[in-house]
């Protein structure tokens, strides 16, 4: 990290004041910056933003505000403190087991584990979006639409199988294509 990087606070472009400003010189708004910690414009923008949010919120929260607030904050908390650690942890374990992650930055990358990671990501993503249908958690669905929700689990499993199958084929093809080169230079290994 260069000192310059560190000294450039977010906000107005550095060129706008670098010419006029010398260490020790007084700048308008200095006291504000010291007290507030950001540029005055930052506060102005946030006030406008909070005004829009607040205007909508007071209209909204008139009924059952607690449930709404729980859902609002809960969505963020559930994502940040449950979902992210869960998938990041799973990914970490996958790499430990699959031996994908080198210990230092100098280790050659071993990316075979990506052939599990990518199809798993897509499959779980589809499940994350469509779990109410896949797990038949939507009691209104069949009654309203006359469509069966029994098909979705089957379809999701099929898609998952196709994804992993395609990934396996890709992996096998990749191994096959690199094989002759390895065979012709056995001494280098």
């Amino acid at each position: 990290m260069t000192p310059q990087d560190q000294d450039t606070p977010p906000g107005p472009p550095a060129g706008a004041r670098s010419g006029a400003w010398r260490p020790g010189a007084w700048r308008p708004g200095d006291r504000f910056r010291r007290l507030y910690g950001e540029e005055p414009l930052h506060l102005l923008i946030l006030i406008v933003s909070f005004a829009v949010c607040g205007y909508a919120a007071v209209r909204w929260l008139s009924d059952d505000w607690l449930s709404i607030a729980v859902w609002f904050v809960g969505a963020a908390v559930l994502h940040d403190l449950v979902l992210v650690p869960l998938y990041a942890g799973t990914d970490w374990i996958l790499h430990r087991v699959g031996g994908g992650r080198g210990r230092t930055a100098d280790d050659p990358p071993r990316t075979a584990v990506n052939h599990i990671r990518v199809p798993a990501f897509v499959s779980l993503l589809l499940l994350l979006v469509y779990w109410p249908l896949v797990f038949r958690n939507s009691p209104h669905y069949s009654v309203s639409t006359h469509l069966s929700d029994a098909v979705f689990l089957r379809r999701w499993l099929l898609i998952t199988a196709v994804l992993f199958g395609a990934s396996a084929v890709w992996y096998a093809v990749g191994r096959y294509r690199t094989r002759p080169r390895e065979r012709t230079t056995p001494k280098e290994r």
């Binding site: 829009v52 209209r59 790499h95 992650r101 209104h140």
Partner: protein
């Protein structure tokens, strides 16, 4: 030999995290979220909430309805497109949103948690941003699958939630834009797409705090990370979009709620809520069914045979649902709404009309349509579809069909039309 190892300072060690990657995801959302916002606003306008209380699920909206306008009937596919884009794009952006949040997650655990008053306000704003964004995506995704887990009616939740989210997005974009532009300029996008895992290096550490202090060895390149997110979006697009585009593509919408065909024959197209789901008694739509048409000139009760003897017209129109799915054009036949208005004394004007269903309970069992919708010659009280009588699920004996209107505005099992009014019990 035992290598002495200490725990890394932070568990967030991905060498890919950095302002450039965050900015790439950010730019995608910067394009996508305004599209979601605008199509969402259009969807609200499509209900004509300013015409009648009954159409308005958020009557306390105040200034948030500043932009409302008469929803047009041209082009007839307008709502089909705007709402199809709203729902499909929302679903397709899910992995981008998750990737964006993944890329900034170390900032959540930054120490000290609050540096200054400005920093504290910034974090409150970010809570509104992240909470609001997730809330909108979660309620939207649940609603299109008819899984009503959320607290209360979908309409006010998604509407007010959108405004809170938008307020927070506004601040986020303005405050972070200069940094985003700098970050995007710091690396060449095309060069990044040519860089493999072995040559992937962390971004230089900077004041954003996104770059890991002790980055692990890369297990994929930035190209790989972008590709994986893109693949996720593509997969969601493929299994979803067909329910809006229709035709042979409907079969590719494997996980979308309205991807499966619903039987054969003239009435074999998607249903929002069938006959049994909405509390229609057989006698309400049986032999004793009468259509009551009211207006300035009086009250005319008509039996089904009498309605059939009125001048019949055809129009080819789709059903487009707020849930994002739609049908192709169906060939409807019935009586023009404007002809019914003329019949009850509105000979030289095209008034609004209050449409009531035989449905006893549930929202949208009555709606108000605006004069421009009544006036359009394609707006029908339909008795037949695709050459056959309407099925019970599609609104037998009679339903309204209006070009460009959301599905629920096309009332099924119609029993009364009152021209010149927009509320229950009002006198024409």
């Amino acid at each position: 030999m035992k290598v002495s190892r200490r725990l890394p300072e932070s568990p967030w060690r991905s060498p890919l995290r950095g302002p450039w990657l965050t900015s790439v995801f950010g730019v995608v959302l910067l394009v996508g979220i305004p599209v979601l916002f605008v199509t969402g606003l259009l969807s609200y306008a499509a209900y004509n909430p300013d015409l009648a209380m009954i159409n308005d699920k958020t009557p306390d909206k105040g200034l948030l309805g500043f932009y409302l306008f008469s929803w047009p009937t041209h082009p007839y596919w307008l709502y089909r497109v705007t709402q199809g884009v709203h729902v499909t794009l929302g679903i397709v952006l899910v992995p981008v949103l998750l990737a964006k949040l993944w890329s900034v997650v170390p900032k959540l655990f930054v120490l000290p948690p609050v540096r200054s008053l400005g920093h504290a306000l910034d974090r409150v704003s970010l809570l509104l941003l992240v909470g609001g964004g997730l809330f909108e995506f979660v309620t939207g995704v649940l609603n299109v699958q008819l899984d009503y887990l959320f607290p209360g009616s979908f309409y006010p939740l998604h509407f007010y939630g959108a405004w809170v989210f938008t307020g927070a997005v506004l601040a986020h974009v303005v405050i972070r834009l200069p940094r985003t532009v700098r970050a995007l300029r710091s690396r060449d996008f095309r060069a990044e797409l040519r860089t493999n895992t072995a040559h992937t290096r962390p971004e230089p550490r900077d004041e954003t705090g996104l770059v890991a202090a002790e980055p692990a060895a890369p297990t994929t390149s930035r190209r790989g990370a972008l590709g994986m997110v893109g693949l996720g979006s593509l997969a969601l697009l493929v299994v979803t979009a067909g329910q809006s585009i229709g035709g042979p593509l409907r079969r590719t919408a494997l996980l979308a709620p309205h991807g499966s065909p619903v039987g054969d024959g003239p009435n074999g197209f998607q249903v929002n809520k069938g006959y049994r789901a909405v509390n229609i008694r057989p006698k309400d739509v049986g032999e004793d069914w009468r259509l009551v048409v009211k207006g300035r000139g009086g009250r005319v009760p008509l039996s089904l045979d009498e309605v059939r003897r009125l001048a019949q017209h055809g129009s080819a129109l789709p059903i487009a649902c707020v849930e994002g799915w739609s049908t192709g054009n169906q060939h409807w036949e019935g009586v023009r709404l404007i002809d019914l208005a003329r019949m009850v004394g509105h000979t030289d004007d095209a008034p609004d009309v209050f449409v009531e269903s035989a449905q006893l309970t549930g929202s949208f069992r009555a709606v108000a349509l605006r004069g421009n919708q009544v006036r359009d010659p394609r707006s029908l009280l339909a008795l037949r579809v695709n050459g056959a009588e309407l099925s019970h699920d599609h609104g037998y004996p009679a339903r309204v069909i209006v070009p460009g209107a959301p599905g629920v505005m096309n009332t099924k099992w119609v029993r009364q039309l009152t021209f010149g009014v927009t509320t229950f019990g009002a006198q024409a």
